[in-house]
Amino acid sequence: MALCALRRLARASGTSVRFQRRCLVTGTAVRQVAGQEEGVVIMEVRDALNTAMDEELANDDRVFLIGEEVAEYDGAYKITRGLWKKWGDKRVVDTPITEMGIAGVAVGAAMSGLRPICEFMTFNFAMQAIDQIINSAAKTYYMSAGEVPVPIVFRGPNGASAGVAAQHSQDYSSWYSHCPGLKVLAPYSSEDAKGLLKAAVRDPNPVVFLENEIMYGAKFPMSPEAMSPDFVLPIGQAKIERAGDHLTIVTFSRMVGVALEAATELEGRGVSCEVINLRSLRPLDRHTILESVKKTHYVMSVEAGWPQCGVGSEVAACIMESEAFDYLDGPLLRVTGADVPMPYAHNLEQLAIPQASNIVDSAARLLRL
């Protein structure tokens, strides 16, 4: 909001000002790619999600969007911008503020042959609906011995935003990835966002799609392949964002960017990090994690959510339970959000979420730099 005001002032005073997009929590510059290669398009995560939904609406008449403010308002975070105007009331459905009802209605529609994309304004509000997500969506195919599939996507922003305090900032990655019957995806880049959302819509199972509000405005290059309307990423496969030899960092969502920042700094200190972007929390790509650990011998997990029973706990356990354990030269270290409800004060908020410096310090401790 402040940015817009400053831009207006700048324009009014006749000065030309360029603002670099800054992460509102860490203050670091969100990765921008300067200079476009041939055929490479720069796209915001928000637009990648929008494009994915637009393409899937075109691809299959059974797909529809449902949620609060998704239609006329263009979406609370503008992810569904323009879709109602293009596809109309039938395909893009506004609802009252009634999360449990919406989720259940969407699941019922999925049971009846449609393919809903159910938006939660944030996953905090999805707690109102969690019975429908777990007891109806996740479990029905199993309980019915395969009679009743539930092809639904639950999507929305997950985790901390900026200054929105405790009830609007929880990270649900751990809760949802705990549950069999669900698939759980956590995109980082625009390519992730597009390819994984399309895959989620086409998957015959209930998929919880955990976006991140701070990442919505982040820009990433999109290859010609990624721009294709048939571009789909496989569910259950992690991506090695940065190859390295000395330390494996296992992470997902916005923390991938923070880990990459830390990796750059660690490179300067002679540590080559392999940053794994999980992309998929359930199914978890254990193979990629274990192969990397066998190569580097040191591992760290990074997540924004709380430490107890977090995703890092699962990463640690599956390394211990595998042959990769014998390759470790040190224990797994978890870098996580602070074990507190999210505070409001800006300085405390920054202390509550992993920063690049936390990752660097933990790496230094682990590797005895």
């Binding site: 529809f64 039938k90 609802t95 009252p96 009634t98 449990m100 009802g101 919406i102 989720a103 259940g104 209605v105 969407a106 699941v107 019922g108 529609a109 999925a110 049971m111 009846s112 042959g113 449609l114 019975d131 429908q132 007891n135 109806s136 195919y141 199993y142 309980m143 019915s144 011995a145 395969g146 009679e147 009743v148 599939p149 092809p151 069999p180 019957g181 698939k183 086409r202 998957d203 015959p204 199972n205």
Partner: protein, 331 residues
């Protein structure tokens, strides 16, 4: 039976009218024998018996078309059988056998049969109401003139999600027949102690939903009321709410010692037994003889007996089935 003339009795043929008796008798015997099997340890977990409420499932489901959807709560054996699931498949499911309608994966509360458009069986009170509303949403979306009939108890109307979907179904004009089986108790709490408004169909009216109350112990009254509901919904007038006042002769479940109501009260309601009532009506209107009714009773006894043998002899699911159907595969 309170009313002596039923419009629906003139519209339906004798065979159908007699078959209502057979269906209710089947439901009754099934539940009584299931209770015995539960005490023998053959059926485990929770068992919620439909004894006393037979007229609601039989009367209402008969008013539906083959393509319409039926959903219900955990007191679902009656609805499953009335919808046409095989007695063997339901008993086997209760026994947890691989030959059960949900292959032993669901049990008493999770009976499914997609081919009969029967989706459970739902264990969370009121949890299936949004699902049913979603089915109605899909039928509107697909423009296919189907409707969904969803059965639930008086207790469900205290859950927030019930109100969320009464609102949405009216707002969006969805083809849902809400059938509230008001058996006057939400588990151990009598209606007057949990509802500020005990005229449940009036609650629906406050959402602008057409509604009615019917004597749920009278199968023909239920059949008639359901017909009205179905016509209303199928004509595109949006949802309908039917409150069927009924009574369960047993406890909430097999685990319920029923200390919250008197034996005298139960005895009073036993006099309204839907099957006995209907039998008398069939006899007095010369639709059937006592001999015929006795033959029917014997037939359903035999059917249920055979289903128990079937369930006994059927295998449990194999260990490999533990991990089957967690996820659907792309074709």
């Amino acid at each position: 039976m309170k009313t002596t003339t039923y419009k629906v009795a003139e519209q339906l043929d004798k065979a159908t009218l007699v078959d209502f008796y057979r269906q209710m008798a089947l439901l009754r015997v099934f539940e009584e024998r299931a209770a015995e099997q539960y005490m023998l340890g053959k059926i485990r977990g929770f068992l919620h018996l439909y004894i006393g409420q037979e007229a609601v499932a039989v009367g209402a489901i008969h008013a539906l078309g083959r393509d319409d959807y039926v959903t219900t709560h955990y007191r679902d054996h009656g609805h499953a059988l009335a919808r046409g699931l095989s007695v063997n498949a339901v008993m086997a499911e209760l026994f947890g056998k691989a030959t059960g309608c949900s292959k032993g994966m669901g049990g008493s509360m999770h009976l499914f049969d997609a081919s009969l458009n029967f989706a459970g069986g739902y264990a969370i009170v009121a949890g299936h109401l949004p699902l049913s509303t979603g089915m109605g949403f899909a039928f509107n979306y697909l423009n296919d003139n189907r409707l969904v009939a969803t059965f639930f108890g008086d207790g469900a109307l205290n859950e927030g999600e019930a109100h969320e979907v009464l609102n949405m179904s009216a707002l969006w004009n969805l083809p849902v027949v809400f059938i509230c089986e008001n058996n006057l108790y939400g588990m151990g709490i009598p209606l007057s102690q949990s509802m500020s408004n005990t005229q449940l169909h009036k609650m629906a009216e406050s959402y602008g939903i057409a509604s009615a109350q019917v004597d749920g112990m009278d199968v023909l009254a239920v059949r008639e009321a359901a017909e009205t509901a179905v016509q209303h919904v199928r004509s595109g007038n949006g949802p309908y709410f039917l409150e069927a006042r009924t009574y369960r002769f047993r406890g909430h479940s097999m685990a319920d010692p029923v200390l919250y109501r008197s034996k005298d009260e139960e005895a009073e309601y036993r006099k309204l037994d839907p099957i006995a009532q209907y039998g008398e009506w069939l006899l007095s209107s010369k639709m059937a003889t006592q001999k015929k009714l006795d033959a029917i009773s014997a037939e359903v006894e035999k059917q249920v007996e055979e289903s128990i043998a079937f369930a006994e002899e059927s295998p449990f699911p194999s260990p490999e089935d533990l991990y089957r159907n967690v996820y659907a595969q792309l074709p």
